[in-house]
């Protein structure tokens, strides 16, 4: 009894010992993410115009008071499109990372804990996946399935879970060797209980942190595929698609590509700052 | 065995007989931490004569290592060092960077406690010796390699020429420490600063290294400042001893005097906590309590909380270090109450 308390007490103490003071960059990141969420959830409030409305009287206009980011070759207000694009890109951030996070974490914990043959197979899978540039793998899979957002999510999920699994597997192995797990084993706890109540919470933390950073990468990837025409399809207001829309106007109307790209970068910075901030919080340097 | 270089003649150093080689006066080292200033070394003064082995003894946190590093300004900022450190007339604390580079590693060398971490793991031992030779002796090529081989031989490393190409992790602990000494001796320094050189070693190896240091002192006429927490090491090697506590020097004396008649309660405590070989069995007497927090020192003598001879006078004002016998100073106002010891065979 006392040792059970001791074992869980050790876990809790471990968790508490890790929280430190938040960095200012974390707050900056959170601000950006919240702003993006606002644009995604309430675009009609933030955006002054209908993003898909053509206005042939106002094509290719430079940024002005009426059109903060200018207009494109169809007369659409770029700022409004950017705002509406937030919804698409944040969705992309979520759906390209959620399944990999969940499935990858689970597989990683299992593989790390069980080891042996499972680990052998997993190692082989990792080797194969690591040898291909992620982008090329995703493009190849999308090529087979056909372009579009849903296929893109599928393609990323098929490959992306491996990164999470690798991370969690490593953490699980480290946790497995630690003293409190050995104590739990000696106490005769069942493997399932050890994994879920003891190892999992500690091993999952780096995965959650990585998830934040991965969302930033997911936005980048989604936009890249959108640019290539393999992800979101025009006329969807996705930031990458919008940059592609403007690529023929770089000299005459550079704002069509420039602003969506800037916002895209900003979103990426926001998420990665949050990810870094969380990493710092949860693992302070001694 | 090659011919060792001629020992240093004090007159050759340009000093009148009996004059100190290194003269430290009122050394004060302060670290600026987020919690406030930390006075690691407070008003420390001592001399080192040519060919002398001075031991600086104390617990962890006593300031002994910081003192050593302060001499050559080897501490990381933000650190404030005041006072005077005269090396053959030159004040090291105010010397130019260029002058410091000439003295450091050449006239004054340093060896650290843990050779595995003090040696660069990606360079061969030979290369690390050659670095010093290049920087200070201007040696290159075959001449440099010959000298490096001589040095490894001097410190007792077998097959020295082959070992030049070996990496630190390929040496055993004792051999690594010898290699570090060889590196430090590359430019025949007149003073060797040894920061706990044997603490990380096995007792038998420890003995070998200490004997090596003494032999080198003879052969090269080198002075040594040996920092340690182990009175046993002091007994074996030192001519004079300086005892530090809470950043202050509390006693200085010749080694036999320190063992026979310690004149500070702390030194007495250290002496008592030594197992006495040959005497009938007695329980070890550690010093009660723990070393003080340097950022929160009580007024008066810093040792007062742990001292068995303490009186109110001790707590009122911090005692100054005074001479209490020939060549013997102490910062304890009750030095005359302290017992003496029979001399035990070493």
């Amino acid at each position: 009894m006392a040792s059970e308390v001791a074992a869980t007490g050790a876990t809790r103490r471990r968790a508490r010992a890790r929280i430190a003071r938040p960095k200012p960059t974390l707050l900056l990141g959170l601000t950006i993410v919240v702003a993006m969420l606002l644009m995604a959830l309430l675009p009609h409030i933030v955006a002054p115009y209908d993003p898909s409305k053509f206005d042939y009287d106002a094509i290719l206009q430079a940024p002005s008071a009426a059109h903060w980011f200018g207009t494109d070759n169809f007369g659409r207000d770029v700022f409004s499109r950017v705002v509406y694009g937030a919804r698409v890109d944040l969705q992309i951030a979520l759906f390209t990372t959620l399944f990999p996070f969940l499935f990858g974490t689970l597989m990683g914990a299992l593989t790390g804990y069980v080891g042996r043959w499972l680990d052998g197979i997993f190692g082989r899978i990792v080797d194969v996946v690591m040898v291909f540039p992620f982008l090329i793998l995703v493009i190849a899979i999308v090529a087979m399935l056909g372009p579009g957002l849903r296929n893109m999510y599928l393609a990323v999920s098929i490959v992306g879970w491996v990164y999470y699994a690798r991370l969690v597997r490593g953490e699980t192995i480290v946790q497995k060797q630690s003293e409190y797990v050995q104590a739990a084993r000696v106490m005769g706890y069942s493997p399932a209980r050890i994994v879920f109540r003891h190892i999992f919470p500690n091993a999952v933390t780096p995965a959650i942190v990585y998830w934040m950073t991965d969302m930033s990468l997911g936005i980048l990837l989604g936009a890249s595929l959108g640019y290539l025409g393999l992800g979101a399809q025009p006329p969807t207001a996705e930031w990458g698609v919008m940059v592609a829309d403007g690529k023929n106007f770089m000299v005459t109307a550079p704002w069509i590509s420039t602003f969506p790209g800037l916002v895209l970068t900003l979103a990426g910075v926001g998420f990665s700052l949050v990810g870094d901030g969380m990493a710092d919080l949860l693992r302070p340097k001694s | 065995m090659s011919r060792p270089p001629a020992p240093h003649d004090p007159r050759a150093a340009g000093l009148p007989d009996g004059e100190a080689l290194l003269s430290v006066r009122h050394l004060d080292t302060t670290f600026h931490t987020p919690r406030g200033p930390l006075h690691a070394v407070r008003d420390v003064s001592f001399d080192v004569r040519p060919g002398e082995v001075l031991g600086i003894v104390g617990e962890s946190g006593s300031g002994k290592s910081v003192t050593l590093r302060s001499i050559l300004r080897l501490l990381k900022p933000p650190t404030e060092i005041t006072g005077e450190v005269r090396w053959k007339g030159l004040d090291l604390l105010t010397a130019s960077r260029r002058r410091m580079l000439e003295v450091t590693g050449a006239e004054i060398s340093v060896i650290f406690q843990e050779p595995m971490t003090a040696l660069n793991p990606v360079l061969t031992v030979g290369e690390q010796i050659l670095e010093s030779l290049r920087a200070h002796e201007g040696l290159r090529g075959a001449a440099a390699r010959d000298r490096a081989t001589e040095l490894l031989d001097l410190v007792g490393i077998p097959s020295p020429r082959e070992r030049l190409g070996a990496y630190p992790h390929e040496f055993s602990g004792g051999m690594r420490q010898r290699a570090m000494i060889a590196i430090a001796l590359a430019s025949t320094p007149q003073l060797l600063l040894a920061d706990e050189p044997t603490t990380a070693l096995d007792v038998t190896i420890q003995d070998q290294i200490l004997k090596l240091l003494l032999r080198l002192r003879e052969q090269l006429g080198m002075s040594v400042i040996l920092v340690t927490h182990d009175l046993g090491v002091v007994a074996q090697t030192c001519d004079r001893v300086a005892v530090m506590y809470a950043g202050r020097l509390v006693e200085t004396a010749p080694v036999r005097a320190v063992f026979r008649e310690p004149k500070h309660a702390y030194t007495l405590g250290l002496r008592l906590s030594l197992p006495s070989g040959g005497a009938h069995r007695q329980p070890l007497q550690p010093i009660p309590g723990a070393p003080p927090d340097l950022q929160d020192l009580p007024p008066g003598c810093p040792f007062a909380p742990r001292c068995s001879y303490v009186t109110d006078a001790c707590r009122a004002e911090e005692p100054r270090r005074q001479p209490v016998a020939p060549q013997h100073t102490s910062a304890c106002i009750h030095s005359d109450r302290l017992p003496a010891f029979e001399e035990v065979g070493s």
């Binding site: 982008l135 190849a140 770089m250 590509s257 | 410091m100 920087a135 992790h169």
Partner: protein, 300 residues
């Protein structure tokens, strides 16, 4: 390594066969005639059991026969021979530029830790981490190429040497992201090394500060960064896909995208295999370099 290669071959083989419909038709694309279909079917042995098909495929790969591009009418192996060097040049050029940007920045940043210079540098590189390659490529092309005419707007030069000029903008846009990753890693590596005893000892030897920096600090700090560099080459080649598309460079990256859009499956297959082999070789090389850089890892 061999088992991994085998798995990759199987996957590449399976790629085409996983497509809906008749693989022969898929490979032929629009140019479907009954004779052509029959010919392909015989060639690929499509009526034979799968292991036999794989064996044919395997044999042909060993002979260097990766099929033909239907769109470009050349053998795939020839295409790879022509275009892979271009992509490799671009990738390496990008790597060099990334190193040139990252190393000094990391040194300055680490040595002035906490100062405004450190913070500014870190902020710039933090943004670099989130800048999409296609965006940087497009902006650089638009500004320095199309608008200012300082650089050509794409394509490659007539000689390898001239490519240092032609491929400067593409390499820069590709290298930015890598520079950000390298700089971060090197900076934290240097900070770690700065605390090491051997740096103190080197200073205590009285050798010049510049030597302490290069022979002691950097020589150790760079070990992990060089390894990271090697492992990132793969990602770089992936980014080359985008850069080549924006700058219209005839490398394998652009070829891949074109082949995907053009349903040129033989090319997609062949290129996937080529990428895998090149990157595996790079990984091997990185491992070797690591054992050279860190003598503690030498196998006796």
């Amino acid at each position: 390594m061999i088992p991994t290669l085998l798995v990759i071959l199987i996957l590449v083989f399976a790629m085409v066969r996983l497509l809906p419909g008749d693989p022969a038709v898929a490979i032929l694309g629009d140019r479907v005639t009954d004779e052509a279909v029959a010919k392909i079917r015989a060639e690929l042995g499509l009526d034979r059991p799968l292991p036999v098909q794989f064996w044919y495929f395997f044999e042909r790969v060993l002979r260097g026969d990766l099929g033909n591009s239907i769109n470009l009418k050349i053998s795939v192996i020839r295409l790879i021979q022509d275009r892979l060097p271009v992509t490799l040049f671009l990738t390496l050029y990008a790597g060099v530029l990334a190193a040139v940007l990252a190393v000094p920045a990391a040194v300055i940043s680490a040595l002035t830790r906490g100062s405004w210079m450190d913070n500014l540098t870190r902020a710039i590189f933090q943004i670099g981490l989130s800048l999409p390659v296609f965006y940087v490529s497009l902006q650089l092309l638009g500004l320095f190429g199309a608008r200012l005419h300082w650089f050509p707007v794409g394509g490659i030069g007539p000689t390898p040497a001239s490519n240092l000029y032609y491929l400067f903008l593409p390499a820069l846009s590709l290298g930015f992201y890598l520079a950000a990753i390298l700089m971060r890693n090197l900076r934290s590596s240097i900070l770690e090394v700065l605390n090491a005893e051997y740096v103190d000892f080197a200073r205590a030897k009285g050798i010049r500060p510049r030597l302490v920096l290069t022979k002691h600090i950097l020589r150790n700090a760079l070990i992990s960064t060089v390894t990271l560099f090697g492992l990132s080459i793969g990602q770089l080649m992936g980014g080359a896909v985008i850069t080549e598309t924006v700058f219209a460079i005839p490398g394998v990256g652009r070829l891949m995208v074109d082949a995907i859009f053009g349903r040129d499956y033989a090319v997609v297959q062949g290129l996937t295999l080529a990428f895998a082999i090149v990157i595996m070789l790079v990984f091997l090389l990185t491992d070797l370099v690591y054992t050279v850089l860190d003598p503690r890892t030498k196998v006796a």
